[in-house]
């Protein structure tokens, strides 16, 4: 039987690392990479669950997540380029003009 407990544990650790990365990193590129880690952690959880019950659904969802992640990265990178154009910086704390 597939060790789902360890699989979920790994997924949780990865997700937490991703969150910490988003919160701690100030460089936008690293924030995007952390988000990617979080997405893959979620995907890992799906795959693990699919393997545990012998269902293909988990892997199907992971494919969806891959496609979504590719789209997200392309949009995100475009935004990053544009922001760099405007601010000559990728520091998220510097780009804070939308405060209330």
């Amino acid at each position: 039987m597939f060790p789902i407990r360890e699989g979920f544990l790994l997924s949780g650790v990865l997700f937490t690392l991703g969150v910490i990365g988003v919160l701690v990193r100030r460089n936008l590129l690293f924030v995007l990479m952390s988000i990617e880690v979080m997405l893959n952690a979620a995907g890992l959880a799906f795959v693990a669950a699919g393997a545990r019950w012998g269902q293909p659904d988990g892997q199907v969802v992971f494919l969806f997540i891959l496609a979504m992640a590719a789209a997200e990265v392309s949009v995100g990178l475009a935004l990053v380029l544009e922001l760099y154009h405007q601010y000559k910086s990728l520091d998220t704390d510097a780009i804070s003009r939308m405060r209330g």
Binding site: V19, V22, L23, R26, T92, D93, S96, M98, R99, G100
Partner: protein, 621 residues
């Protein structure tokens, strides 16, 4: 002829609308023609209706004309309907005819005033409302007319609105009469709630069949209606507005505040006489209010300096006589006195208006004098009006009507010698202040030169009214016979005073007042001055001059506490609750907007934290 009844209020109303819309672009002559013409047509129609009514009386002595249903809510279906019986016929004819004469007079009196067409618009609206009030078939329509005349009264008292004092007088009249109107509205609610209709005739039948004499409902309803009547007719304790109402133009005072509107209360009580007959204590209260008012106003009238204020107090006093008559059950005597009073009081105001205009708007009678030869028309008409007011025996109309009231008061089952004595003292006072006025204004030395002589439009109406003030009294017997179809007969108590004795006493009282005025103001003018100079006399004079301190009393008891409460509550305690709500919302807004830092990582942290908390709640709670 009777189906034309609706035109009597409709034409003045159309005139008021026309003048209100087109008036500002009209020349004076056009405004006068429309304003006076509409009332003239209305008066002619009502005369024709009166002729038709008298020659061929409708079945049951009343004619009802229903125009349309006004409101239709469940069982509440008041109609726009007019009810013509002998009572409303007399009132309508007198009102339209006197109004017509006063409109003719105003056409000259108001000449050159910048509000010329506005004045006629208000006056026409007043006549329309007054006729609606008189002809109303149900109490709701009557109330509409009642408030309509109140509105016109307010508008016309404050007609010269540039002077704040006039606006104040208008507001006072409006607010004081509103107190009475509130009582009346509550009375209407009570009647509708208990009897289920507001049609006056149905109401009277229902009250008679459902309420025994002296029942609590009848007493409450009659007392509330009396409250309305007291306010509108300027009786004790709501009489304070009428003297101040003299701030309006003189024709207004003649028409609204003497001849017609102020007698609406008398009409209301006569119209609902069944209710008052069912409530003997209230009916007795009507008599007592009338007697007290006629005495108080008589004393006040004898001390005033302003010619119009003297006449205003005399109006209050004369309406007191009408209330006295109503209170002792002499219904037709009250309406008879209303008619003669309408003639002679309108006449007195018109003559006073001629004097006032001739003397550059001088109102103080001590700065008048010797006008007998300067203004002969004003003198003779004023003399006739004054004699009618004071009740010159056998000749004038006022004598016949007042004599009837006094005799009724003495001989009624509900009356008594006390009421009669009060009325008799009132006659002495009336005669005293009337001739004081005549002697001071028309006799003695010329004090102020005459600058302006009246034209025909002012003298002719005065002469017509003078004629009516004399002949109006001779129709006493047919008048009573006519009113007997609409109002119950006077119930005479046995063993009272004979008619001849009552008449003789009234004549003597008239003479006493005349002689007193002659002695104190013509023969020996220093007497009145010295009486007013000693301390007790001065105190009494001030007391009566200020209307027995009623204004002072009301100022202390009602106005100051309200003003004090208003100033103490300047910060508005109740409103601070709503201010607090708004403040709390603003605080929440500031707290929330403080979280909008623009820092991306903080947002992400909030989202992550929020997700953790939500998940925790979902999983463990």
């Amino acid at each position: 002829m009777l189906p034309l009844l609706w035109l009597v209020p409709a034409i003045p109303f159309a005139g008021a609308l026309t003048l209100a819309v087109l008036g500002p672009r009209m020349r004076e002559k056009a405004a006068a023609v429309i304003g006076t013409g509409s009332i003239a047509v209305s008066a002619v129609i009502s005369l024709f209706i009166a002729a038709a009514f008298l020659t061929a009386p409708p079945a049951a002595g009343a004619y009802t004309q229903t125009l349309w249903t006004w409101i239709d809510v469940g069982s509440f279906r008041p109609a726009i309907a007019f009810y013509l019986d002998a009572l409303s016929l007399v009132m309508m004819t007198v009102v339209t005819f006197v109004s017509f004469l006063i409109h003719v007079y105003s056409a000259e009196f108001m000449r050159g005033d910048e509000g010329y067409s506005r004045f006629f618009a208000y006056m026409n609206l007043f006549v329309a409302s007054m006729v609606t009030l008189l002809l109303a078939d149900n109490l709701l329509l009557l109330y509409l007319g009642w408030e309509g005349v109140g509105l016109c009264s307010y508008l016309l008292i404050g007609f010269w609105y540039q002077d704040p004092a006039n606006g104040l007088a208008g507001r006072k009249a409006f607010i004081v009469t509103r107190i009475g109107d509130t009582a009346m509205a509550v009375g209407l609610f009570l009647l509708f709630h208990n009897l289920g209709t507001l049609r006056i005739q149905d109401l009277m039948h229902a009250a008679q069949s459902q309420w025994p004499v002296g029942s609590a409902y009848a007493i409450a309803a009659a007392a509330l209606l009396l409250g309305g009547a007291v306010g509108k007719s300027a009786q004790l304790p709501l009489q304070t507005w009428l003297p101040d109402a003299m701030a309006g133009p003189t024709p207004t005072s003649a028409l609204i505040h003497a001849a017609t509107m102020v007698t609406a209360g008398v009409y209301l009580i006569a119209r609902t006489h069944v209710l008052f007959a069912l409530a003997p204590p209230v009916q007795f209260a009507v008599a007592v209010v009338g007697a007290a008012t006629l005495l108080m106003a008589g004393f006040s009238a004898a001390t005033q300096n302003d010619i119009k204020r003297v006449l205003a107090y005399s109006t209050i006093s004369q309406i007191g006589y009408m209330f006295l008559a109503l209170g002792v059950g002499a219904w037709s005597a009250a309406i008879f006195h209303f008619m003669t009073h309408a003639f002679f009081k309108a006449l007195l105001f018109l003559a006073a208006g001629i004097v006032i205009e001739a003397l550059h708007h001088e109102h103080n009678i001590f700065r008048m004098g010797g006008l007998r030869n300067e203004l002969p028309v004003a003198f003779w008409t004023f003399l006739i009006g004054g004699c009618a007011l004071a009740g010159l025996p056998l000749i004038t109309a006022g004598y016949y009507s007042k004599d009837l009231i006094l005799w009724s008061a003495a001989n009624s089952t509900a009356g008594g010698m006390g009421l009669w004595a009060a009325g008799m003292a009132g006659v002495v006072l009336t005669s005293l202040y009337t001739f004081r006025l005549i002697f001071l204004v028309f006799f003695g030395r010329l004090e102020t030169a005459v600058s302006h002589r009246p034209g025909l439009a002012m003298t002719v109406p005065a002469c017509v009214l003078a004629f009516l003030s004399i002949v109006g009294g001779f129709g006493k017997l047919p008048f009573e016979a006519l009113l007997a179809t609409a109002l119950p007969q006077f119930r005479e108590a046995g063993g009272g005073m004979s008619e001849a004795l009552a008449s003789a006493a009234a004549g003597l009282a008239f003479l006493a007042g005349l002689l007193a005025a002659w002695y104190a103001y013509l023969q020996n003018p220093s007497l009145a001055r010295s009486a007013a100079a000693n301390p007790a006399g001065r105190l009494l004079h001030r007391f009566w001059f200020s209307d027995w301190g009623m204004d002072w009393l009301y100022d202390r008891v009602f106005i100051r506490p309200v003003v004090w409460a208003a100033s103490a509550n300047k910060a508005d305690v109740i409103d601070s609750i709503y201010d607090g709500l708004a403040g709390a919302a603003a605080l929440c807004y500031r707290l929330l907007s403080a979280t909008e830092t623009g820092k991306l990582r903080w947002y992400a942290a909030w989202i992550a934290g929020g997700s953790v908390v939500t998940l925790a709640i979902v999983m463990w709670l």
